[in-house]
Symmetry: C2
Subunit: 207 residues, 2 copies
């Protein structure tokens, strides 16, 4: 059984998608061993509690640097023995040493078709605002391995969805979450737990 | 009846998609009045001939600058009275004055989901090579209005398609052409000819 630790910073709808997939037996041999939040009081913690998953809070604001926070997170994670870390709306950037320690064992979900509308500062509603400002007709979501470059790691899965007339950032965010993110993330986690992801440079092959 | 002039530089498969749509009565009140090629001897010219469409060759290499070529093309086009110019694999960059003269009356098809994998130097197989190098799982095609910025104009239509395991630039190019480009371009031309495209800044609304 592979231990999955889910990292969150907010409402935790992607965490919920993972919890639901687990309850349907669809996480492919992994189990959510713990949830770690970089913020106190977020609803993701309540979701973990309701699902009976141990939840930890490691507030980002109590640490001055990404380095200090990354060391504290490493210390918190060590006894949990995680085989996979999943960023589910986790907005905290970890340092290069952390990324190397967990290389090819960290997945992130991003609400656009990378390489479009991604990178530093591009998260949450900002992504969908940028999508609408640019006027694209298709957007989507991407699951990728986390590296030191924000949203720059090898891509595991992507799914497209139409931008519709009259879309607001909020309506678009909802569609991308429901039709892309909440399907892609459990699917990618299951593939990882089944040892079916092979990474060669930037290319991820599904075995 | 709105006169469509199709600009080409090569094999002309997108021209063929337009000719086929026209023969099915699907160009929405437009008719292909002429084809102009920036290269001699390309197969697009043969396609025009077979369809009984007047074809002109204005070789780019006989003109030193984009400005000189743009003026010559303007002179060639004037008597054709075009209501719409369609770049169908037209690889020649025209100058700002030309782009302003035909503002919101020129459509281009690009074989990726703009803003990914586009811009100067990104055309033909190079696009699909870049897509595979980056390792994205979804690509597609975009029809947009032409402005002075390469691939930077307002987006009319986009369609996504999966990148598949084992894809080569050639196999991917074929899939994007068949499943995206050859559907999108006639559809966008028909919408234009039916006066159903409304442009406001970067946003194109389909009425």
């Amino acid at each position: 059984m592979l231990n999955i630790v889910v990292l969150v910073s907010g409402g935790g709808t992607n965490l919920q998608a993972l919890i639901d997939a687990q309850s349907r037996g669809e996480l492919g041999g992994g189990r959510i061993a713990a949830v770690v939040s970089s913020r106190e009081g977020v609803y993701a913690l309540e979701r973990a509690r309701q699902a009976g998953i141990p939840a930890h809070v490691l507030p980002r604001k109590q640490y001055g640097s990404a380095e200090a926070y990354s060391r504290a997170l490493e210390d918190l994670l060590a006894p949990l023995n995680p085989g996979l870390l999943v960023y589910a709306g986790f907005l905290t950037i970890l340092d290069e040493a952390f990324c190397q320690k967990y290389e090819n064992r960290m997945l992130n979900i991003h609400p656009s078709l990378i390489p479009a509308f991604c990178g530093r500062g591009m998260y949450g509603l900002r992504v969908h605002e940028a999508v609408l400002r640019y006027g694209v007709k298709v957007t989507g979501a991407t699951v990728h391995f986390v590296t030191g470059e924000p949203d720059g790691g090898p891509i595991v899965l992507q799914k497209a969805v139409d931008v519709l007339p009259g879309d607001t950032p909020e309506s678009l965010q909802k569609r991308v979450m429901e039709q892309c993110e909440h399907l892609l993330l459990p699917q990618a986690v299951a593939l990882f737990c089944q040892n079916r992801l092979s990474v060669d440079g930037r290319k991820v092959t599904i075995l």
